[in-house]
């Protein structure tokens, strides 16, 4: 089947097997390497993408779910101001983490801070709890997310 959707802001058409999950299609057909299965379990949290603004594990979705959607992956935010602000806040909070996990963590932080609302601690914890990773101190990540949020707010105010 041929799927048409927006990938990181650009319209795209790809051929996909109906039985294939969206993560495999994005990796194999679109070159999106920031997502991965990561574990024998269905969802390790490392296949998270934003579909129409909502974080969803692409490994759990059939490829046809992408039809007509606006999909944002880590590759799509690398050049954004938010990405720079997130990296800056991670650096200040001494977050050094497995580089295979980092894109997911940054994308989830991006989603939280661009929602333009108060970030609840339980919400961050819930999101982080989706990600399988040996290591990573939650309190420092919480601080970093709040800091990135503040950086962004200050920038927007100045603008």
């Amino acid at each position: 089947m041929i799927l048409s959707f927006l990938l990181n802001g650009a319209p795209i058409q790809v051929e996909a097997y109906p039985h294939q999950d969206l993560m495999t299609t994005l990796r194999d057909e679109c070159g999106i390497t920031s997502i991965r299965r990561g574990s024998i379990q269905q969802n390790s949290g490392l296949s998270m993408i934003l579909i129409d603004g909502l974080p969803l594990p692409s490994v759990m979705l059939p490829s046809f779910r992408a039809e007509g959607c606006d999909i944002l992956t880590y590759e799509g935010i690398i050049n954004s101001d938010e990405h720079r602000e997130i990296l800056q806040s991670f650096e200040r909070s001494n977050i050094i983490i497995n580089p295979l996990v980092l894109p997911t963590l940054i994308l989830m932080t991006y989603w939280l801070i661009t929602e333009n609302r108060k970030i609840e601690e339980h919400e961050v914890r819930e999101l982080l709890g989706e990600i399988a990773c040996r290591g990573g101190v939650t309190s420092r990540i919480l601080t970093a997310v709040q800091q990135a949020h503040n950086f962004r707010r200050m920038r927007i105010q100045h603008e």
Binding site: G38, I40, I96, I97, G129, G135
Partner: protein, 722 residues
């Protein structure tokens, strides 16, 4: 510190692809132990090949750390899932379809699986060590305390699975592998293909967490892919699925360690110990000698003993290969010893912290291994630091009282709490002379644009180690962190620095890198750029041998003490960890945030080993449905560990600290759970099934009013029986 790098351009084996690349599908044994009779394969389409042992002849073996491993089953398969053949072809869907049509005929043989009751021919290696006169000391002591400690297997659970890509390149062969010792891969591929080592170029791919699971196994996959590439003349990639990784790649070795300690009420210095140790390393015990040596080293401990006897065996069973996990034999030896110490404290009775303080060997003392403890290696300060930080002594006493009252039925609490303590000492590098035999070279190049490139045949091991390497070069050469890059490991431009294990990326590479940077500094304003220097690690002359001619790997040992506090909801029996404390003396800490990151990773891994990562072999095979329930920790599963980095001497060498959480947290955790539950627990992981079994045992022993206590009172005054 530089900004955390967010890499999507990492060289991962799963991201690599080549035009006209063939995919490899491993055809595996469906028997545990059997004689291979026949492989029947349907007619293969063009560009599809089936490669088995008969295509390789005498080259079908890889010699790795004292163990000979066939690339494909020759005569007998030794474990369920052992590679029998490799099917290669351009289309993965068709590969799978053809793979299902391949029929392998075996004649079944008796399998050796029960590690508690194995025939003698399953003993791969046997060693015994004696210090003093245990026979005499046991006769003179009036009390013995005995325990048998077991640990299960643990999966590395890599986010990036095992794999290899082999690509013909003129007369050469390029190999891409996530193995952590690329020069070993080069040698094994050269032996398997009959090519010269010079014509094999290995490029390291990102291996993932440095848990030692990719020390040797990727070399087998690389050799298989290389043979296939030679036969087909095309690039061949073998990529494990996560299922294959979980079912067939090496895991942490399982062990059973029986420790008996004899103590004398009259003479506190009279303390003897007997240890019987069995380690199951599965069908191919790679590195058995070193693994056993390190485990024995831990079991001999840093405590004062009048005598010691250790009988140690490596067992060869028909299980998949088992062995390294975040260290070699250290963590399982340390777990058994520290759990036994907590048991001793409970039965003597004594405060576990005080008992350790009283019996720890102090600077100037000679250990039973013969090595003298140097003045700069006092272990007491980490013990006191963690006891203070966690308020261990007060909490332990309070929870002990709570446990006693619960047992008497005088109080009912909402939550049952417990706290546990353990300490460990980690000799970095290989023990004794072995480090001297290991190549440990690193290079550094100052380029024409003023930037520097680190040349090392291993990935830094962790994101923290990467930061530490860059920081060293930055400080010596006065460059910005952003001006320093690390060349992707390869055998073409990077010298051989040995395997990435036992914290060598810090203990060896950082030191050698510093030497390289200093050498460049001397030449940078004299010689034209680029300047490239290579340096090798040398053991300090003073540490080669002590006065009794006993080799010593390093002047000091990294030491750690851990406390874990837990509570159990009596209604749901749910475990809730309330706190994790660690105090670490790792010598000179190159970069605090990097060290903390590595320790936090170690804590998560150890907590998984303690209770959530449950994997059991059933009749020599892992059941896929059980694998699905395997759960590595996730963010927020545990409270943030409170870690203290103690640096008594800033000029001391940097020691390996990454393995220390795995050596302390499980023993501390099991004591905490034991105290909270009132059950005597002696094996990890602590599963719901184990918990239920212990409960049943306790109830039945209470019903019979006849206690099976692991304490023997020779005088018969306390009524304990064994």
């Amino acid at each position: 510190m530089g900004a955390p790098s967010s890499k999507t351009d990492l060289t991962c084996i799963s991201n690599l692809s080549r035009e006209e690349m063939l995919h490899g599908l491993i055809i595996r044994s469906h028997k545990i132990h059997a004689r291979l009779l026949n492989i029947r394969c349907p007619d293969l389409p063009q560009d599809f090949y089936l490669i088995s042992a008969s295509d390789l002849g005498v080259r079908n073996r890889a010699e790795i750390l004292g163990c000979s491993i066939p690339l494909f089953v020759e005569e007998n398969c030794m474990y369920f899932g052992e590679p029998v053949a490799l099917l290669i072809g351009p289309d993965q869907e068709r590969l799978r379809a053809i793979g299902e049509q391949i029929q392998i005929t075996f004649e079944e043989l008796e399998a050796s699986l029960d590690r508690e009751n194995l025939p003698d021919d399953c003993i791969f290696l046997e060693r015994s060590y004696t210090y003093g006169d245990p026979e005499k000391d046991f006769a003179e002591c009036n009390r013995t305390i005995e325990g048998t400690y077991r640990n299960g297997i643990q999966d590395h659970h890599y986010l990036e699975p095992m794999g290899a890509l082999a690509e013909p390149d003129g007369g050469n062969l390029k190999i891409y592998s996530p193995g952590t010792h690329i020069y070993l891969i080069r040698d094994i591929v050269a032996a398997a293909t009959g090519m010269s080592k010079r014509s094999i170029h290995v490029f390291g791919c990102y291996p993932g967490d440095d848990l030692d699971g990719k020390l040797w196994y990727p070399a087998i996959l690389a050799a298989q892919a290389a043979v296939a590439a030679r036969i087909s003349g095309k690039a061949v990639r073998i990529l494990h699925s996560h299922e294959e990784d979980a079912l067939y790649s090496p895991k942490r070795a399982a062990s059973r360690i029986r420790i008996t300690t004899a103590v004398s009420d009259e003479n506190s210095e009279k303390r003897s110990r007997r240890v019987e140790l069995d380690i199951d390393m599965g069908s191919y015990p790679v590195g058995a000698e070193d693994f056993l040596e390190r485990c024995v080293y831990q079991l001999s401990g840093r405590y004062r003993l009048s005598s010691l006897e250790i009988k140690a065996r490596i067992l060869r069973t028909n299980s998949p290969p088992l062995g390294f996990f975040d260290g070699w034999g250290d963590s399982i030896g340390s777990f058994a010893l520290e759990t036994h110490y907590n048991r001793c404290a409970e039965l003597l009775p004594a405060d576990p912290g005080q008992l350790r303080s009283d019996t720890l060997a102090m600077p100037g003392d000679r250990l039973v291994s013969g090595v003298r403890i140097r003045s700069d290696a006092d272990p007491g300060h980490v013990l006191q630091a963690v006891i203070r930080a966690s308020d261990y002594s007060r909490k332990h006493a309070a929870y002990e009282l709570q446990k006693k009252r619960r047992g008497e039925g005088s109080i009912q609490t909402d939550a049952q709490r417990g706290i546990g303590l353990a300490i460990a000492f980690h000799p970095p590098l290989y023990l004794g002379e072995k480090e001297r035999m290991q190549s440990s070279a690193v290079g550094l190049r100052l380029d024409g644009d003023g930037s520097a490139t680190i040349l090392c045949s291993m990935y830094p091991g962790s994101a923290g180690a990467e930061q530490a390497w860059k920081k060293i070069v930055s400080e010596v050469l006065g460059l910005k962190i952003s001006e320093i890059r690390i060349e992707a490991p390869n055998t073409v431009t990077c010298p051989d620095c040995g395997p990435e294990t036992l914290s060598r990326s810090i203990t060896i590479c950082s030191k050698v890198l510093e030497n390289c940077a200093q050498a460049i500094n001397k030449r940078r304003f004299r010689d034209p750029l680029p300047i490239e220097v290579h340096r090798s690690f040398r053991l300090p002359r003073s540490n080669k041998k002590d006065a009794r001619d006993i080799p010593d790997a390093y002047p000091v040992y990294a030491s750690a003490a851990a406390v874990v506090e837990t509570e159990i909801d009596p209604g749901t029996m749910k475990l809730n960890f309330r706190g994790i404390w660690l105090a670490i003396d790792g010598g000179r800490i190159l970069q605090q945030s990097a060290a903390l990151q590595r320790l936090e990773q170690g804590v998560y891994s150890a907590m998984g080993f303690l209770h959530s990562e449950v994997l059991e072999l059933e009749h020599g095979r892992l059941q896929p449905n059980r694998i699905l329930g395997y759960r590595i920790p996730r963010f927020g599963d545990f409270p943030d560990p409170q870690i203290q980095l103690i640096q008594p001497d800033r000029n001391a060498p940097s020691l390996g600290i990454g393995e220390l959480p795995g050596m302390t947290i499980p023993a501390a955790g099991i004591q905490a759970i034991s105290q909270a539950s009132g059950l005597y627990l002696d094996q990890i992981p602590v599963t719901a099934e184990n918990f239920y079994r212990y409960l049943q045992e306790q109830e039945s022993s209470e019903e019979e009013d006849f206690e099976m206590m692991p304490i023997i009172d020779d005088a018969g005054t306390e009524g304990g029986l064994s």
